[in-house]
């Protein structure tokens, strides 16, 4: 484990000094606080409960968290290979698994710091604006958002481990962002229309749920907004959403590792 630990420490220190990352954190905090201010002060009366406030914050988190995750992840390994600093990393006793896992933990820590900063600022402002609110929904919201973030860090690191070129990594990350944030449901719908014009098969609806965004929104809906809903199909359940996010958090980084493990560097 010493290998993983030293990679994490080095990487966290290094990433914290990156200006781009600080800019992202600032942007995130600004978005959260700004959205809250708008909702409460400008739109007013509508926001009466903490849950409503949380839901109104969904837009900044669902869009910005993936960006922060990918931007933090995509250069993690490809960037070192491109510059040559990976030679320092790998002449020291780190296995390639140490490198991938260490990078995943280090970058996740950085992203979590960013998100916690945003939520902390958001919490303080919400308290100031509303006077009071319940803590639990806020924490549940935070937990699901962290898992959502982890999914994108894993995707970014997985991409980064698969290529020695940061330009390939950035294009792949951007492509993945567009595909899963904006095009996924549309594409699944397209397939549905063409292959099964008359019906709406269940497995396709389940596949539609496989984007991190859908799972994130489903998770928020099940765990925060609804009471128990009877007769939900399994792919609309909260546990399914969490499972999909966990898959996102583990599969891309594993695939990236398998490629990185066997490549000449």
């Amino acid at each position: 484990m010493s290998g993983v630990r030293s990679v994490v420490k080095k990487d966290f220190n290094d990433a914290l000094r990156s200006r781009r990352l600080l800019a992202l954190v600032a942007l995130f905090v600004l978005f959260i606080v700004g959205a809250e201010y708008l909702l409460v002060e400008v739109i007013g009366g509508e926001v009466t409960s903490a849950e409503a406030l949380v839901v109104s914050l969904l837009f900044p988190t669902m869009l910005l968290v993936p960006l922060i995750g990918l931007v933090t992840g995509y250069k993690a390994i490809a960037g070192e290979r491109e510059s040559g600093s990976h030679k320092l990393l790998l002449t020291l006793p780190h296995s390639r698994a140490d490198v991938v896992l260490g990078k995943l933990i280090g970058r996740t820590a950085v992203v979590f710091v960013a998100i916690l900063a945003g939520f902390l600022a958001g919490g303080v402002v919400a308290f100031a604006l509303l006077g009071s609110y319940e803590l639990t929904p806020f924490l549940v919201y935070l937990a699901i958002t962290l898992l959502y973030a982890l999914a994108f860090v894993s995707l970014g690191i997985g991409i980064s481990a698969s290529t020695g070129s940061t330009s390939v990594a950035v294009m792949a990350s951007f492509g993945a962002f567009l595909l899963f944030q904006f095009l996924w449901s549309f594409l699944v719908g397209l397939v549905d229309d063409h292959l099964f014009p008359e019906t709406n098969p269940e497995f396709l609806q389940a596949i539609a749920q496989f984007s991190p965004l859908s799972s994130y929104l489903t998770g928020i809906n099940r765990f925060l907004n609804d009471g128990p809903v009877p007769d939900l199909p399994y792919y609309q359940e909260g546990w399914f959403a969490v499972l999909v996010l966990v898959l996102w958090a583990t599969v891309p980084v594993t695939v990236g590792y398998l490629r990185f493990r066997s490549v000449d560097i």
Binding site: S6, K9, K10, D14, T91, L92, P93, S95, D264, I265
Partner: protein, 325 residues
């Protein structure tokens, strides 16, 4: 147990490039082994295989008795490496770099001590992105020295160092070797290898073309050296006078230089002979020709790499060697 044992290693890259061809190489424990060859000969490829950066197409290698592939992490725990073409972490300080190596090897040393040994302690808290190439080279050497390794692998260690820095580098290598560390270092500059190596292997086009002690290698070629005297204008009487100096085996004129191949003659007498015949001596340089010739003989056609010598004399000597041909 050999410190390094490369056994029949062939490495072919995609696109049909063969970087190494059936390479066999043994570095004994406790010795300083110079791995010589022009750029592109396969030196770095060999080192990359020892570190498991790349995998051999055929053959295998052991380092300190451990398999270079299967036990790579254990290997790297006991080896200190100064790689080539590396890049430092620009946002991290020198101290953080060394601390990284200390954390990784779990040695609990103090970064200051190591930075002190390589002479950059005053830059410890500056970001390494602002270091010169020479400072970066010292920094990475400090990282390599962490944990008192049993084996030092140094890929072109004097790259980016001025003559003083290169000398300092040799001093540190010698010091480490005196403490029992085996040293394997690659270079395309003969003087540096000659100064400290016990044994030398010469690599050319992915094959080991010679491997022997420094003395034996030189004995195989002869013990002569070359004196190059730059004058205002070479004259025939001067050349004749030099030819008559005992122990001079060959004299030729190259531009404004008189090139003298000496088997066993006094340099002073040669210089005197030139001056007495009306030439003004502007500069002169001695070069152990045997080694250059030896190198050139073995690596004919691949001497371009020699132009990257770090010291001005090395570059000059090379140019002259080539000009004579």
């Amino acid at each position: 147990m050999p410190a390094i044992d490369v056994d029949g290693v062939t490495k072919r890259f995609g696109g049909g490039v063969t970087a190494l061809q059936d390479l066999n190489l043994t570095v004994k424990e406790g010795e300083i082994y110079g791995f010589l060859g022009p750029n592109g000969a396969g030196k770095s490829t060999t080192i990359n295989i020892l570190l498991d950066f790349i995998r051999p197409t055929e053959g295998s290698a052991t380092v300190l008795g451990m398999d270079a592939q299967a036990d790579s992490k254990a290997v790297r725990r006991r080896v200190g490496v100064l790689p080539d073409a590396y890049h430092v972490y620009e946002r991290l300080t020198g101290r953080q770099h060394v601390q990284f190596a200390i954390d990784s090897k779990e040695t609990g040393e103090r970064p200051e001590d190591l930075l002190n040994r390589v002479g950059i302690s005053e830059a410890a808290d500056r970001k390494a992105g602002g270091y010169s190439k020479g400072m970066a080279q010292r920094l990475v050497l400090a990282m390599a020295l962490v944990g008192d390794p049993d084996l030092l692998i140094l890929d072109e260690p004097s790259t980016g160092l001025d003559p003083n820095g290169a000398r300092e580098m040799r001093r540190i290598i010698q010091q480490e070797n005196d403490r029992g560390t085996t040293v394997f270092f690659s270079s395309h500059i003969l003087e540096q290898v000659e100064a400290i190596c016990d044994r030398v292997g010469i690599l050319h086009n992915g094959e080991l073309v010679a491997e022997d002690s420094m003395e034996n290698l030189r004995a195989n070629i002869g013990s002569g050296s070359t004196l190059t005297v730059t004058v205002d204008e070479p004259t025939e009487p001067a050349v004749e006078a030099v030819r008559d100096v005992p122990g001079v085996s060959e004299v030729s004129v190259d531009g404004t230089s008189i090139v003298v191949v000496i088997s066993d003659a006094s340099k002073t007498r040669i210089l005197e002979a030139i001056e007495e015949n009306g030439c003004e001596v502007r500069d002169f340089a001695t070069e152990k020709a045997s080694l250059e010739e030896l190198f050139a003989t073995y690596t004919e056609g691949g001497r371009d790499g020699l132009r990257n010598g770090t010291t001005p004399t090395a570059t000059q000597d090379t140019t002259e060697t080539e000009a004579r041909r």
